[in-house]
């Protein structure tokens, strides 16, 4: 992957998660209003953006931001799935459904799983290249 591609994916990740953060903060599209989660998603976005702040020539540092950022996104998706599952289970036990479509925060789950492929890619790049 050449320097320009890494930059592209870093910007892509950063913007995507910044958008998801704002989405969660205001509860806009298919999401509940959850300011704390928004902050955490914002941190994920920051991981990508700090990657852009690294010198262009420092490829390995940029890859590491891509690596960790994507892994973190993956973790967030799993987290969200677990939370949703627990809420559903609780609803089941007290015989009233506590879930709404918004509570799922589908945009987060989908984005996280989608971007996790970047993790595998970045990992392979780091392991096979002598940076």
């Amino acid at each position: 992957m050449r320097g320009r591609s890494i930059t592209f994916w870093l910007i892509f990740g950063g913007v995507l998660f910044a958008a998801l953060a704002i989405n969660s903060f205001y509860g806009l599209l298919l999401t509940d209003h959850d300011p704390f989660l928004a902050i955490i998603i914002g941190i994920n976005s920051a991981i990508y953006f700090f990657g852009i702040a690294e010198k262009k020539s420092d490829v390995r540092k940029r890859y590491s931001h891509l690596l960790v950022g994507s892994f973190f996104a993956y973790v967030l998706s799993i987290y969200q799935v677990l939370v949703v599952f627990s809420v559903w289970l609780e609803g089941l036990l007290i015989s009233s459904c506590l879930l709404t479509i918004e509570a799922l925060n589908l945009p987060l789950i989908i984005s996280g799983f989608a971007i996790s492929f970047l993790f595998d890619f970045a990992k392979k790049q780091i392991e096979t290249n002598n940076f």
Partner: protein, 649 residues
């Protein structure tokens, strides 16, 4: 190299495992023993002892996992335990587990073991990672140079484990014991000292050359048992000789060139310990863990509550005798049940901690917040333990085992009770809800902030009181990141969780029975012993304005803080309605008294399981007494201040 006849008998059927921390010793131990292992304590101390049994081709051998150490000096408790076991118990085989990627350091420990005894086996672990990094270990050459069997293994892929088991089982008592030579001057001293020691019959069981080397290194323990103290100190030279020898060995046994540039761990660390992102990521990880714990344990706790409720009803229907029914249903099931409801909470927190530990992230987290902790004269490691306190103080105190500095450990243990555990939350919700309605959330937040403030201040105070305000030392290794193995995590969580259940469970059971007796006899409610206790203590609490019912529930709260809720509802509310019908209490006390009561609940005496664990982990009652009186004093003073200030607002 010389051969040195060793006429000392060894017990054949025990294998002792040694190795640096983080080399995968535990994984190898698990691979050898499977689930046939027991986790206990080394006698008299709070260091974990893992013992198991290895069955291989009709052989049955005991395996002991000694604490991970870098040397066999006697400067730390871990080293002392490992060394004492080798010297006193004389296991049949001593296996040193080394790290293929950091062989130099691992061999330093190996040499120290070889100085002490024969019948040593070297297992070079993580050989798969070494290959990835570009090394190849020539085990035959290594074996030749060291004069002992060498096996290369990978606990992760399983490579070499079979061969290791074969080697361990076949390890014959050769009696030969190879060692290397120091400089002429040192060797001369060693000869002299060995002469002197040979005459001492009480030291007959210990290799005299080893004792001599230790004397030249000015080892405290050895100086004590031999009665010889020297003027000169050769420790630096001896250490350098060892490393020189190691370098020579490695030059022929390790082939390949290290890849320049980053490996996987370094790449991750660039972000994880980043100047700015490091702390942000840490906060994010903490948030995720806590949120997950509370959300997942929610439904699980409900399930447990229903199960217990059902059990209570079933048993209640079966028992005809009134007092027995009450004892079983309200006393035992009610009392123990209150704690069992928290079990999912605790187990999940331990699980999270286990994952953080297995992956290798924990030292990074400690590294990132260390500067802040240093201001409290603690270190990053304590922070992790204290975080567990938000779940349950018992688990946070139990987790202090991994803090290596004894002073820091004690301070962390003593301030842990001030961290607002989840058992106090129901009390907050009940009282704050009754008195402050919509503002209850703000009040509870205030309580958590107060908890942190008092914790920090107490840390400074206790450090000054007991340890003259000296900060702890930090020498912490950052091991490579590794993929966590499910089996290890489950074993870890189960061990820790089971320990918690044993400790907390037994005490709560006893306490529940006692509380039941006190509140049932001579007549339930206002005529009981409990009420008499409460009424007699009332004068002490006049400045605070608590009623005898509140005081009695505080007394009961010493068993377990969530009991306060059930006590209060017994006295004030309708027991069959949950929580909210405490309305009558609003006529008895004012809001600022209620707030002061909450503060008191937050700060006063640690619950009994916590006290038991404090005694266990510190090994003395002095700290238990201190904890009780200090927390009572702090609770009273702060609660009083809150009441007075509240009254003005």
């Amino acid at each position: 190299m010389e051969n040195h006849r060793d006429g000392i008998e060894s017990r054949k059927s025990t294998i002792a495992l040694l190795g640096n921390p983080n080399v995968g010793k535990t994984s190898i131990f698990n691979a050898l023993t499977g689930s046939r292992q027991i986790v206990a304590n080394w006698p008299g101390v709070t260091v974990e002892k893992r013992a198991g049994v290895m069955k291989h081709h009709n052989h049955t051998v005991d395996v002991i996992d000694l604490p991970g150490t870098y040397t066999l000096g006697a400067t730390s408790l871990d080293e002392k335990i490992a060394r004492d076991f080798l010297v006193n118990e004389k296991p049949g085989v001593a296996m040193v587990i080394g790290d293929a990627v950091n062989l130099e350091r691992s061999l330093y420990l190996l040499l120290q073991v070889l100085e002490l005894r024969g019948d040593v086996v070297l297992a070079v672990n993580a050989v798969d990672e070494a290959r990835k990094a570009g090394f190849e270990i020539d085990r035959n050459e290594l074996s030749k140079q060291l004069g002992i069997p060498v096996v290369v293994t990978s606990a992760v892929t399983g490579e070499g484990i079979e061969e290791l088991k074969n080697t361990l089982v076949k390890s014959t008592k050769s009696g030969s014991h190879v060692h290397y030579l120091f400089s002429d001057e040192v060797e001369a001293h060693l000869r002299d000292l060995s002469e002197r020691i040979r005459g001492n019959s009480s030291l007959a069981g210990i290799d005299e050359r080893w004792l001599s080397i230790k004397l030249l290194e000015r080892d405290d323990e050895v100086q004590k048992i031999t009665g010889i103290t020297l003027d000169y100190d050769f420790s630096v030279e001896i250490a350098e000789t060892r490393y020189k020898y190691i370098k020579r060995i490695l030059s022929t046994s390790v082939k390949g060139k290290e890849k320049i540039g980053w490996n996987f761990s370094e790449a991750i660390d660039h972000v994880m310990t980043h100047r700015f992102l490091g702390i942000l990521i840490f906060l994010a990880v903490m948030y995720i863990i806590f949120q997950l714990t509370f959300t997942i344990s929610g439904p699980l706790s409900i399930m447990i509550e229903e199960l217990l409720g059902g059990l209570g009803r079933a048993l209640g229907g079966l028992i005809g005798i009134d007092w027995l029914r009450s004892l079983v249903v309200e006393g035992i099931i009610g009392g123990v049940g209150a704690v069992l409801v928290f079990v999912p909470n605790i187990f999940i927190l331990f699980l999270a901690l286990g994952i953080l530990e297995e992956t290798g992230y924990l030292p990074r987290a400690a590294f990132v917040i260390d500067r802040i902790m240093y201001a409290m004269k603690l270190s990053g490691r304590s922070f992790i333990s204290m975080l567990l306190g938000f779940g349950c103080n018992v688990s946070s105190i139990m987790s202090t085992r991994s803090i290596s500095e004894p002073k820091e450990r004690i301070v962390t243990i003593l301030v842990s009770p001030f961290i607002s555990c989840s058992a106090r939350l129901p009390v907050y919700v009940l009282i704050a809800g009754t008195f402050f309605g919509a503002r209850a959330g703000v009040v509870i937040f205030f309580l958590y902030v107060l908890s942190i403030v008092i914790t920090v201040l107490s840390a400074l105070l206790i450090n000054k009181l007991f340890f003259k305000g000296e900060p702890s030392t930090l020498i912490m290794e950052l091991p490579r990141y590794r993929k966590p193995r499910l089996s290890s995590i489950i074993l870890y969580t189960w061990n820790k969780g089971r320990h918690f259940l044993e400790k907390a469970g037994t005490i709560i059971l006893g306490a529940s029975v006692v509380i039941w007796v006190l509140s049932y006899f001579p007549s339930e409610g206002t005529g009981s012993f409990a009420a008499m206790i409460g009424k007699s203590l009332e004068p002490l609490f006049i400045p605070l304005g608590y009623t005898w019912e509140m005081i009695t529930s505080l007394v009961f709260g010493i068993a377990a803080k969530e009991v306060i809720v059930s006590s209060l509802t017994t006295f004030f509310g309708n027991p069959s309605v949950t929580g909210t019908s405490l309305g009558v209490i609003r006529t008895l006390i004012t809001p600022e008294v209620a707030l002061s009561f909450l503060v008191f609940v937050l700060l006063y005496v640690p619950c009994m399981p916590t006290l038991a664990v404090i005694k266990n982990e510190t090994g003395s009652y002095k700290y238990v007494f201190f904890s009780v009186f200090y927390s009572l004093a702090v609770a009273y003073i702060v609660a009083l201040i809150v009441r007075l200030v509240g009254g003005l607002l």
